[in-house]
């Protein structure tokens, strides 16, 4: 455990000196600034800083996965190809210590990226909208951190299972696209095949489940059901920027908050474990 923390700390130290990473974090921060500030600057917000809480999830839901993948997909495969992994493997850390350490180090990187974005969002909220709903904002940041961690877990797991940069890159890009913009299309395709191919009419709950199965949609769902009702409840505002408060009362267990949360955790842990198992059995030469 101690050894994986040392690996994590040194890994973070190395990663935070990467210009590419700072480029991605920069783009993310600028988009957070634009998306949260512009609506308030162009027209006055009837709900004050609460608008900022909703608005920040839009760039976060899209760009946190991208940033996490860029920050993590080379964590092990890149070092394996260059040979710096041999430096670590010549020292006491076991392969388990290394996978765990890389996961923790890159999680810290995405944590810093999210913290920077949310500080920018908070400043915008206070300056443009006049206030900052503190608790919901922190809760949203926590959910965003979970989303980031899930994508770090996914890409570190992939990275552990692959031996070269190029082999790690293709699935990493695929991951961001399939679980992001393509996901609703995939759910529609599943529905189509079930309906016309197998003559099975999927229930609305099943379709909702398929939708929240993707970590980014799960994140959106959790925001809508955990943060939004309290944030907008008393205002009678139905919808803002495509986000609508969701009530889970009476919903099946697989649409309850705890289950969606567990899915996010599974997206984090399962790939890391599978990646480790593949990594622990492979030849490093």
């Amino acid at each position: 455990m101690n050894r994986s923390l040392v690996v994590a700390r040194r890994d973070f130290e190395n990663a935070r000196r990467s210009y590419l990473l700072w480029g991605v974090i920069g783009v993310f921060s600028i988009l957070v600034f634009l998306v949260t500030a512009l609506p308030g600057l162009l027209s006055s917000s009837p709900i004050g800083g609460r608008a900022a809480v909703v608005l920040i999830t839009l760039p976060a839901g899209v760009l946190v996965p991208v940033t996490a993948v860029v920050a993590s997909y080379l964590a092990i495969a890149g070092e394996r190809e260059s040979g710096s992994l041999k430096i670590l493997l010549s020292l006491p850390p076991s392969r388990r210590d290394i996978v765990l350490g890389k996961f923790l180090g890159r999680t810290a990187v995405i944590g810093v990226a999210i913290a920077i974005a949310f500080v920018i969002g908070a400043v915008v909220s206070v300056l443009v909208y006049g206030d900052l709903p503190f608790a919901p904002y922190l809760l949203t940041m926590g959910l965003t951190a979970l989303l980031g961690t899930a994508f770090v877990g996914l890409s570190v797991g992939l990275s552990a299972a692959t031996s070269t940069r190029t082999r790690a890159m293709a699935p990493a890009i695929g991951l961001v696209i399939v679980l992001g913009p393509l996901w609703s299309g995939i759910v529609a395709a599943i529905q189509f095949v079930a309906d016309f191919g197998l003559s099975i009419q999927l229930s609305p709950e099943t379709v909702q489940f398929l939708t929240v199965f993707s970590p980014a949609s799960g994140y959106g769902r959790l925001f809508n059901s955990v943060v939004l009702p309290d944030l907008l409840g008393g205002l009678g505002v139905g919808q803002i920027a495509g986000s609508q408060p969701v009530s889970t009362t009476g919903a099946p267990f697989f649409l309850q908050d705890w289950f969606v949360l567990a899915l996010l955790v599974a997206w984090t842990a399962v790939p890391v474990v599978l990646g480790y198992l593949r990594f622990s059995g492979s030849d490093i030469s």
Partner: protein, 311 residues
């Protein structure tokens, strides 16, 4: 307890490419062992198996009495490694590398002292490792290996990329570490590197060990003794081939060249030509180099249909 021991260690790539084939090797505690062989002989594959970078197809290895596959952390706390084909962390300083090695080995080495010991400039140690020359990289990697005063140093081609001066310093550090009572195991395809520092050498060809002995012992075994070249005022008409302890006589313009398997034969040869009336103008002797030994062994080991693997 041996520092390194392998039993029937084998690594097969694909279906029939044996990079290492049934290797039995014992390196005693406290000795400097040179692991010799041409490129592609299986040296790195063997070391990578000893370090658990790759897994043997069959066979078994222990390092300092610990199972090389099952007890990697325990082993790496007690050994220092300079692996083949490694890379440094380009964005971290040399000093940070040393600090990281010390943290992970739970050693309290002073980074400056390590940097000094391997001849790296303290200013350079504060620069990013990505800016290092090959020689500086090797020095830093050796420094990381030396952290924690390891009982066993395993160096894979440590003089690669070093200039002659750097290679000499590397040998001195190796010798110095051995004098502290540690075991040193290092591979090389450059024979002079090994000759100068090793107590024993093993010669690996096509994945099999063809010889393990002291350098003197190998010399005796192969029979390539030293060569005596005499420059004479006139070649005498005397037969010297019957002098005991010589194996080969070449009469050439202005002298003779004799291969002596017995050191005492040299004086006998000189006496013989002087008795015949010749004046000896110059005497030159050359010891058989490992190069000669190496050629002798490599040729002697029969081609067994084993395919050479580049690893």
């Amino acid at each position: 307890m041996p520092a390194i021991q392998t039993h029937d260690l084998t690594k097969r790539f694909g279906r029939d490419v044996y990079a290492v084939d049934g290797l039995d090797l014992t390196v005693q505690e406290g000795e400097v062992f040179g692991f010799l062989g041409p490129n592609g002989a299986g040296k790195s594959t063997t070391i990578n198996m000893l370090l658990d970078f790759i897994r043997p197809t069959s066979g078994h290895a222990t390092i300092l009495g610990h199972d090389a596959q099952a007890e990697t952390t325990t082993i790496r706390q007690r050994i220092g490694v300079l692996p083949e084909g490694y890379d440094l962390y380009p964005r971290l300083s040399g000093r940070t590398h040393i600090e990281m090695a010390a943290e992970l080995k739970e050693a309290d080495d002073d980074p400056d002292a390590v940097v000094d010991r391997v001849g790296l400039d303290r200013e350079d140690a504060r620069r990013k490792a990505g800016e290092y020359s090959q020689g500086m990289r090797q020095r830093l990697a050796l420094g990381m290996a030396l952290v924690g005063d390891p009982d066993l140093l395993m160096l894979d081609e440590p003089t690669n990329g070093l200039d002659p001066n750097g290679a000499r310093e590397m040998r001195e550090i190796v010798r110095d570490h051995a004098d502290r009572g540690a075991t040193v195991f290092f591979s090389s395809h450059i024979l002079e590197q090994v000759q100068a520092v090793c107590d024993r050498v093993g010669i690996l060809t096509d994945g099999t060990m063809v010889a393990v002995d002291t350098i003197d012992g190998l010399r005796d075994e192969v029979g390539t003794g030293s060569t005596l070249t005499l420059t004479l005022d006139a070649v005498p008409s005397v037969d010297i081939a019957d002098v005991p302890g010589i194996s080969n006589v070449v009469v050439q313009d202005g002298g003779v060249r004799v291969t002596c398997t017995d050191p005492a034969a040299k004086i006998a040869v000189i006496d013989r030509v002087r008795d015949a009336g010749a004046t000896v103008e110059d005497i030159e002797t050359t010891e058989a180099s490992l190069e000669d030994l190496f050629a002798a062994y490599t040729e002697r080991s029969e081609p067994s249909g084993v395919t050479e693997a580049e690893t």
